[in-house]
């Protein structure tokens, strides 16, 4: 059994146009390692949604991807405003994205629900005023 490989990304909060680059990069690496297309896509979508969330709500953050032979763990950590009511945030269509973000086609309230839908487990730790850490696992 091979030990895990970690990939680390700083997600820039100031640059909206570069949001999503880390997930594209991870996708390329997973392909090189021969993961199944469906697994790659699930990781890519979950990570993309998380990246966008960090850019919209938390002025960026850090993304860590740990690749093991049987699962892929994505950890997204930010020092943003935190989520006051996680249960509410998990509901489809619920969004606190500002109007300027919505005008770009984001903020449909599908970010967290999609992250849950495309992964095998989703854990959220959040403290208002301190930040949020999202940990997602995709089983291979």
């Amino acid at each position: 059994m091979t030990e895990g490989i970690r990939f680390h990304y700083d997600v820039d909060g100031d640059n909206f146009t570069s949001a999503g680059e880390a997930s594209v990069n991870v996708k390329k690496k997973l392909r090189q390692m021969g993961f199944d297309p469906d697994v790659i896509r699930r990781v890519s979508i979950a990570m993309y949604e998380g990246e966008i969330n960090m850019v919209i709500h938390a002025d960026g953050g850090e993304a860590d991807v740990e690749v093991l032979s049987d699962k892929i763990i994505i950890t997204l950590a930010d020092k943003g405003p935190g989520i006051p009511d996680i249960e509410q945030a998990m509901q489809e269509g619920f969004s606190t994205a500002p109007d300027n973000i919505r005008s770009l086609g984001f903020g449909a309230g599908m970010g967290l629900p999609n992250m849950k839908r495309y992964t095998d487990s989703l854990e959220i730790e959040s403290e208002v005023g301190v930040g949020t850490t999202v940990r997602m696992t995709v089983n291979v």
Binding site: I5, G20, S23, R31, Q32, G34, P37, I40, I45, V67
Partner: protein
């Protein structure tokens, strides 16, 4: 199918080993080895970027010559509609088609005729509730090869229909036999006038069929001067054109989409734009779109590497040519059944393209993961200048090559310089330093 036959070749004498093509190849399929470019054939998708970019014209497209087909009794020219945009002051497509007959062809059949059939059938196909949406156009072979190598999840979104050029060749041969019952199959050949090397490759290794009905592909730029002089001698062109605005518009980006009379489409051109769009589709970002048209060349087929005229000038010329054309001359009456079942079976692929994991580091996942770990470590140690001097397009690509045993760390000139400095520092003893000062 999907073999590694390509239509890009290198004139070694002309190649300086510079980094123009190396750095712009969208699939990192080029390396500089022994002072000249080398193409990694399994990675090449025939986009033609390197042919366009090479300042020394060392990259060449390979294609057929008309003389190769002299042994056929009946030669049919299959011109792509992009051809019509290549001529100054052309006001009638029949001059081009008649000109082709004067160049040695016995008959012509426009790709745009078949394109009009494909447009109609695509419209019916899109009504099918069971198909994967958005449907991605399969007319550009570069895009299919790109998806097969890089976006395997989207293979099911491809329109599983044969490209207009293939259907044109089939119908042309059938019509020829009806017109000339004395002709046998082996007497007739269909020769495509291609705007790009990718479609030349398609003829040799087709997608969706075992064997293409097209027998050869000529380059638009190669036949151009012969055709221009033939056209100048024409007083009364024969009435040969049998397509309309819809078919001719396929030559430019957006033409295929606008023929669907459906505003839920996206049309992108230029390989780098297509890659970005595919990355986003894979992330489910366009769930409300029905159709995606992707053209690897800027401007669409008029931007192909084998065309003569600038893509946008050619597109403008097509606009004025289209003005007096009917909307379509090849209408398909609405079929009894809508959706996929409304499309005749012979329009569909007989076999679908498959995932080609060409960038996979090793056949076995744990070996690939181990290699990835080495690549990550090595990449960190390199300069991140991506200068290309080592012969790989980026520092990361060099790290991959080193791990795959195809390059070594000393190929990096920055590393080498560092090593020389270190060596110098090591041998520079205090005595020799003093001696230097005294001298």
């Amino acid at each position: 199918m999907q073999s590694n036959i390509h239509s890009v070749s290198l004139e070694v004498d002309k190649c300086k080993g510079c980094t123009h093509c190396l750095k712009r190849c969208p699939t990192e399929a080029i390396r500089i080895r022994d002072g000249h470019a080398v193409i990694i054939t399994e990675r090449c998708i025939d986009c033609g970027e390197c042919i366009r970019l090479c300042p020394y014209k060392a990259k060449k497209a390979t294609y057929d010559k008309l003389e190769q087909f002299d042994h056929f009794k009946y030669k049919i020219a299959i011109p792509a509609p992009a051809l019509y945009g290549q001529f100054v002051n052309l006001d009638d497509i029949d001059y081009v088609l008649t000109g082709l007959l004067h160049c040695g062809f016995d008959d012509v059949f426009e790709v745009s005729r078949a394109a009009e059939l494909v447009s109609d059938y695509t419209r019916y196909y899109l009504h099918d509730p069971h198909i994967q949406k958005p449907v991605i156009s399969s007319a550009c072979p570069v895009i299919i090869r790109l998806i097969a190598a890089r976006f395997p999840y989207l293979l099911d979104n491809l329109l599983p229909m044969l490209p207009p050029v293939e259907l044109a060749a089939r119908i042309a041969k059938k019509e020829a036999k009806e017109k000339h019952p004395e002709l046998k199959d082996e007497d007739i050949c269909a020769i495509f006038i291609s705007p790009c090397p990718a479609k030349v490759s398609y003829v040799k290794s087709p997608i969706g069929v075992e064997k293409s009905a097209i027998d050869g592909a000529l380059s638009m730029s190669d036949i151009y001067f012969k055709l221009v002089s033939a056209m100048k001698k024409i007083k009364n062109p024969e009435s040969l054109s049998k397509s309309g605005v819809i078919g001719v518009s396929w030559a430019g980006a957006g033409g295929e989409s606008s023929a669907l009379f459906n505003d839920k489409y996206l049309a992108a051109d230029g390989i780098e734009n297509c890659i970005e769009v595919l990355d986003q589709i894979e992330n489910d970002n366009f769930s409300d779109l029905e159709f995606i048209e992707l053209n690897a060349c800027h401007g669409g087929c008029v931007g192909g590497a084998l065309t003569v005229e600038n893509a946008y000038i050619a597109k403008a010329r097509l606009q004025s040519l289209r003005r007096y054309l009917p909307v379509s001359q090849n209408r398909v009456p609405p079929p009894e059944k809508d959706g996929r079942e409304g499309v005749p079976e012979e329009f569909f692929w007989s076999s679908a393209p498959e995932y080609r994991p060409v960038t996979m580091l090793a056949g076995d996942k744990s070996a690939a993961m181990k290699k990835m770990m080495d690549i990550e470590r090595l990449t960190e140690m390199l300069s991140h200048l991506d200068c290309g001097s080592c012969g790989a397009p980026t520092c990361r690509a060099l790290a991959e090559d080193i791990v795959n045993g195809e390059a070594s760390e000393s190929d990096c000139i920055i590393k080498m310089r560092q090593q020389i400095h270190d060596l110098y520092a090591e041998h520079k003893t205090p005595e020799s330093d003093d001696a230097g000062q005294e001298g």
